[in-house]
Amino acid sequence: MADTDQARAAAIKYRRFIKFLFFVLVVLSINFGGTWLTHQVEFQLFPRHDSMLQFMVLGATLLYVLLMAIPFMPGIEIGLAVMILLGSKGALLIYLSTVLALSISFVIGRMTPPHLIKQLLNWFHLYKASALVAQLEPLDQQQRLKLLYEKAPSKLVPFLLRHRYLAIVAILNLPGNAFIGGGGGIGVIAGMSRIFPFYAFISIVAVATAPIPLLFFFEVI
């Protein structure tokens, strides 16, 4: 009996040791990998690297569009990083990419049956976004829209329900909109709600997402 307990304790210790070793290896890999990556990024850039630079900018922009279109993904952070990297002119690229990304999420919400969106998000392990779609699935149009405004101050909700276009502008610029999935989440919900025609949504998004890129473009910030 005592021998079995000792063997079990030894096995637990061994497993802990393996886990600890694995943790150390992961930390060391991140450290060495990070140093290597920093070294790669710090190499000198000459005109011969022009194509590579453009490819990197294009890659970052596509990543931004992708992350911005998916609910609960940190798209806006990538967008800000690209704007800072490219300077004032980059604001125009990010602005157009934002409108494109939100249009994609709107179309996904409008065209795709909710259970397929759920499956896709689960496949990507985006369980939070999948839960949001599940939450929306049984709701009617008005209820779906109302869900959008739940994070807004309660006094504003009746006003927002009456002025749904203005509401989208407000929600897209509300700091707490990450709780309902950020820009991508708002686009999917707006698409699923079937309350907004596509052209109207594009117009709203074009206006609502303009202020920050405009401030960057005119070098106010």
């Binding site: 000198q44 850039l45 005109p47």
Partner: protein, 139 residues
Amino acid sequence: MTSRQKINIFIITACWFLFINPVLGLDPSRLLDGKTFTGFNGEKGQPLDPDEAEEIVFENGRFISTTCNRYNFSDVAYSASQAGDSIHFQAVTLSPTHGKIAWQGTVRGDQAEVTFVWTKERWYWNTHREYWFQGSLQQ
């Protein structure tokens, strides 16, 4: 004035422009003609990059960077001026694909120190990077 006198004046004037003027150095654009400097480029504030071998050539009043020539930066007329034992020069090379490079340098003896700025404008992003070159006269 007779025809003979006219011909003499023409010959003297032609000789002045062809031989004497360049020798006296009155044409500032040609102070560095015939010189080729080889060395390396580096980004401003960084060491010279051993992978970025450069050759700058002054020939017939024109300047060319052989490294940048690969990226469609063609040869251009350069301007130069003498200051003591140094010669300062300037040139701006253009490429239809890679933008513009503004060159500014000093040649002292058989050594050249050059700074250059690469700019390329796009609708979504401007490239503006500063570099330096250090090279010695190719014998």
